[in-house]
């Protein structure tokens, strides 16, 4: 009989082994998919019972988000002491509407739901102790963040984005989208925010795709330098550049005559860039250079989702008209503010783009460092020599034309953009970095429909650079007297900027005509001379340029 007893025992053992196998299937193999099953409400219950980690600003003190215990119930809710200031970065955390921003991308850290990382966490997990989330410290500088936020808030349209970063290590110093929202009240206001025509829930800095306008000329210039164009090469501008089916004009129909390549960038001469794009660079090289600079790159290692910048139609389909317009960042070109900040950063850092980073450190609640990303190279956009040449050109653009960006005692490199916006006013762009010879900060500012780049974006970028450099000890601590052309104060009325009294405010600005002509190229550059009145509103008949992207108003007329 004993043989049967043994055999039956083996049968039982097999049964127990099978059960362990079934458990392993549920608890290891199928765990993830079950956790996300819509019928499974355990996760949202857990969320409320466990305090999430802090989100701290780059100073290590400013609390951007924390969890506070509700009265007695053992549940926690999320509090954002800074309100809407960091909302574009943190996103919201709602049991009703889900989560966005860092709250979702850093959820594994913040919720402590990941596998235990420290011995304490392991012990906690075994003993059933509260697995508080880990704290996430960001790279953001609270001062710059506030400055950028206030600057955008007081811009003429109250819509825009700022990205400032340290070109040497890729740390994001400021990332603001405006209008923002208060993540504290997301549960009450979500429906309203979702329907707001100003899209406060959209992060304009990382998700908003805009024509970069003349700021894109730095990429064209980089491609041209690579193609052998010298800064001293001379180009003649007679106010137009003809391609089959499309004629490029300068901003405000200005004629520059003989220009060096360097002057052409400083004055942002569209016709010359269109010519260089077509005759020296070509579609393939231009698109390739843009790609070197991060176009088509979703920056997957970045903590926030990035909408890749792109060309439409794609470069393979470009005709000369498309190349011409792409050369000054119009028509086919769409980019994010984030991307343009990285372009500025890459030029500043000798052509090497550092991996942009928002998270400086992840710490367990008791202070043990769990993750500390180090700076790494994202890509090489330019060789060092070309980057140096381009920096000199951008510096010249500031010293010769965009004097409003100058900071006494510091070399500033920059490029404005006044981008033709689909169906609206011009977008005001400025990308820059300083000090040009040893860059500490690179900035991209975009004010949606904020008119010329120098009017709105430039002063804000300058204030950010100045504030940062002062903090870094590059500038004397006392506020230097602002250059006469650039008042420090925030101006809600762009037209009221005392520095450029000759420029009309937006109400007088001519481009409200929905039938803006592609042939118009109102000269921005001459208008930058405060002594010259703005050009007459161009009023030529509209003509449909070939390969016009769908849905875009039939015209682009970027200015510098």
């Amino acid at each position: 009989m004993n043989a049967q007893l043994r055999r039956t025992f083996y049968l039982f053992v097999a049964g127990f082994v099978a059960l362990v196998g079934v458990l392993a299937y549920w608890q290891v193999y199928a765990r993830e998919s079950l956790a996300t099953d819509p019928a499974n409400r355990l996760q949202s219950r857990r969320v409320q019972e466990v305090p999430r980690g802090l989100i701290l600003a780059g100073d290590g003190e400013t609390e951007i988000a924390r969890s506070e215990q509700d009265g007695g119930g053992g549940t926690y809710s999320r509090v954002y002491p800074e309100g809407p200031l960091y909302a574009g970065v943190t996103g919201y955390w709602s049991t009703k509407y889900g989560a966005s921003g860092l709250e979702i991308s850093q959820n594994n850290n913040l919720s402590g739901a990941g596998e235990p990382e420290t011995l304490d966490e392991l012990i906690n997990q075994f003993s059933g102790g509260p697995q508080a989330g880990n704290d996430v410290e960001l790279t953001l500088d609270p001062e710059l963040q506030r400055l950028a936020y206030d600057g955008l808030a007081s811009s003429s349209t109250g819509r825009g984005a700022v990205v400032a970063l340290n070109p040497k290590n890729g740390e994001i110093l400021s990332l603001v989208s405006y209008p923002s929202f208060d993540p504290n009240d997301i549960d009450e206001n979500f429906e309203e925010l979702a329907q707001d025509p100003n899209f406060p829930l959209v992060n304009r800095a990382t998700q908003g795709l805009y024509p970069p306008g003349s700021t894109f000329k730095v990429i064209t210039a980089a491609a041209a330098l690579k193609a052998g164009v010298k800064t001293s090469d001379k180009f003649k501008d007679n106010g137009t550049y003809e391609t089959p089916g499309y004629t490029v004009y300068n901003y405000r129909a200005k004629e520059y005559g003989q220009q060096t390549f360097e002057q052409a960038l400083a004055n942002s001469v569209n016709t010359i860039f269109a010519r260089i794009g077509n005759e020296k660079v070509g579609a393939e090289a231009l698109a390739q250079k843009a790609e070197d600079f991060g176009f088509y790159d979703p920056y997957e290692d970045f903590a926030l989702p990035i909408a890749p910048s792109f060309f439409n139609p794609p470069p393979e389909q470009w005709d000369q008209g498309n190349i011409a317009q792409s050369s000054f960042g119009q028509q086919t070109v769409s980019s994010t503010v984030f991307e343009m900040a990285n372009v500025a950063g890459a030029i500043a850092n000798g052509g090497t783009m550092m991996q942009p980073r928002l998270v400086r450190e992840v710490r367990s609640p008791d202070g043990a460092i769990i993750d500390k990303p180090t700076s790494s190279v994202h890509s090489r956009a330019l060789d060092e020599e070309t980057a140096g040449t381009l920096t000199d050109m951008m510096e010249a653009a500031v010293t010769q034309v965009e004097k409003g960006a100058e900071i006494p005692g510091v070399k500033v490199a920059g490029k404005t953009g006044t981008a033709e916006a689909p169906g609206g006013e011009l977008h005001s762009w400025f990308i820059s970095f300083a000090p040009a010879d040893d860059p500490e900060i690179a900035v991209a500012v975009m004010i949606e429909n904020g008119q010329e780049g120098y009017k709105q974006a430039l002063p804000l970028a300058r204030r950010l650079m100045e504030a940062h450099l002062r903090k870094e000890g590059e500038l004397p601590n006392e506020a230097p007297s602002p250059p006469p052309a650039q008042p420090q104060g925030e101006t809600t009325q762009p037209g009221a900027q005392p520095a450029r009294p000759q420029n009309e405010g937006p109400s007088q600005f001519p481009f409200q005509n929905p039938f803006r002509s592609p042939d118009q190229a109102p000269g921005k550059a001459p208008a930058q001379n405060p002594n010259q009145p703005p050009g007459q509103p161009p009023n030529q008949p509209p003509g449909q340029p070939p390969n016009q992207p769908q849905g875009q108003p039939p015209n682009q007329r970027p200015g510098g």
Binding site: F9, G15, F16, V22, Q27, A30, P116, S127, G128, Q131
Partner: protein, 438 residues
């Protein structure tokens, strides 16, 4: 036989203490009156010492296993109910049942030392088993969740089928030991399967059919599976004929299919087993919640008291294993299953060492029931097999179940005492000449 298990006993009590300490100090649960803890620990220690005193040759390693299982059961019941209004005293009630069970075990040890006398009353016991089950159809019986398997006497309710099973195993052990040769050597065959003469087969089939029939009417599927499977396994052990197992499985398959066709609640059970996700908020709710909670535990578990298994209906009885898997994880629940397996291993060992067929079959039957019950309910809550409502031995809340399993352990102990005496005597016989040689 293991005659000393002081260290395992200490470890089992320490683990139980650690569990309660975790709940009280980490989860800040209200402490249950400490006196109950003292009662429990005292009961188990006294039981251990008593058994060692009364049954010096028995396999006392069973008791640390019982202590660990009941201890973890108490922790889990306490964890699941201490803050639930209306049932906050469930753990102390269970501790009371453990005390009663321990008393029953002592009674078995004292009064049934000579358990072989029981085999003389095997037909009476078979009748009693049928009577136990049938008693739920008297006015004393009542229905819970559609299954009429409870008996209420005064304020005490219990499930007679728990005791009917043990009585039936004693009957089969005695009967099969007596008729073993006749069953093994048969003349008639049916479809290639050799069958014993009807007159030997008769009593077995009758008891079987009666119990099964009643259980089907009681709609207690888990018990009916046990009532069927355990005797089949005993039949196989007694005769060594795999044909009986095949025949039994075939009969059970036919019976299952018939019940599936006949009862809508069986059909529902099967459909929710096959696809609980199609209706996760209603019919599939219990099993879906169980799986969600088990998965939630992962490898290391959520930690004691940190899971959400209170979302599972009946979690403190049938689904207590889901809580264990959820909060102790794959590692903890595997370790816990090993405790059951050690119990089964000791049970089989007792059976192997027992001197006579009836004792072997008795120990084997009891062990097989324990093992099958564990496999069926753990398999049920993990969706490996269709769910049938039975308890996890010693762990689930339930007086009758605890009491029945203590009686089962008591019977295993008295069988092991006799086997131990025998093997000790044999060892002495082997060792004596060796000593002489040295």
């Amino acid at each position: 036989m293991t005659q000393r298990a002081t260290l395992p006993m200490t470890i089992a009590l320490l683990i139980t203490t650690l569990g309660f300490a975790t709940l009280i100090f980490v989860q800040e649960a209200n402490s249950p009156p400490l006196i109950y803890g003292a009662y429990y620990a005292g009961t188990m220690v006294a039981l251990y010492l008593g058994v060692r005193l009364w049954l010096p040759h028995s396999d006392v390693l069973l008791l640390p296993m019982v202590t660990l299982l009941t201890g973890v059961g108490l922790i889990m019941i306490y964890r699941l109910t201490y803050e639930v209004p209306g049932v906050e005293n469930l753990a102390t009630t269970q501790a009371g049942w453990i005390l009663v069970g321990a008393g029953a075990l002592v009674a078995v040890v004292i009064f049934l030392r000579d358990y072989q006398k029981l085999f003389a009353y095997k037909y009476l016991l078979a009748l009693a088993a049928v009577g136990f089950v049938a008693s739920t159809f008297t006015p004393l019986g009542y229905e819970v969740n559609g299954a009429r398997l409870w008996l209420q006497i005064g304020s005490v309710t219990f499930q007679p089928s728990e005791f009917a099973r043990i009585a039936l195993i004693i009957f089969f052990a005695g009967y099969l030991a007596e008729k073993r040769d006749l069953w093994a050597a048969t003349s008639k065959s049916f479809m290639g399967i050799q069958l014993p003469a009807l007159k030997y087969f008769g009593p077995v089939a009758l008891v079987w059919a009666a119990s099964l029939g009643l259980l089907i009417f009681e709609k207690d599927l888990g018990s009916s599976l046990l009532f069927f499977a355990v005797p089949v396994l005993m039949l196989y052990a007694a005769t060594g004929r795999i044909a009986y197992v095949i025949l039994g499985a075939l009969l059970f398959a036919i019976g299952s299919f018939a019940t599936y066709l006949a009862f809508s609640h069986v059909q529902l059970r099967v459909s929710t087993w096959l696809d609980p996700w199609s209706d996760p908020d209603d019919s599939g709710f219990q099993i879906a919640q169980s799986i969600f909670n088990i998965a939630d535990g992962g490898i290391t578990g959520t930690g004691l008291g940190a899971g959400f298994s209170q979302t599972i209906p009946e979690v403190e009885t049938d689904f207590v294993f889901s809580t264990i898997a959820s909060e102790l994880g794959l590692l903890g629940s595997t370790a816990f299953l090993l405790v059951f397996l050690v119990f089964v291993y000791r049970g089989i060992k007792i059976s192997l060492l027992a001197g006579d067929d009836a004792s072997k079959l008795l120990a084997f039957g009891l062990t097989a029931m324990f093992a099958m019950q564990t496999l069926i309910i753990v398999g049920g809550v993990t969706k490996a097999i269709p769910l049938t409502g039975i308890t996890l031995p010693f762990v689930s809340y339930g007086g009758s179940s605890v009491l029945g399993n203590f009686v089962l352990t008591g019977l295993l102990l008295v069988v092991s005492e006799k086997a131990g005496k025998r093997s000790d005597a044999e060892e002495a016989r082997y060792e004596a000449p060796e000593k002489a040689a040295v």
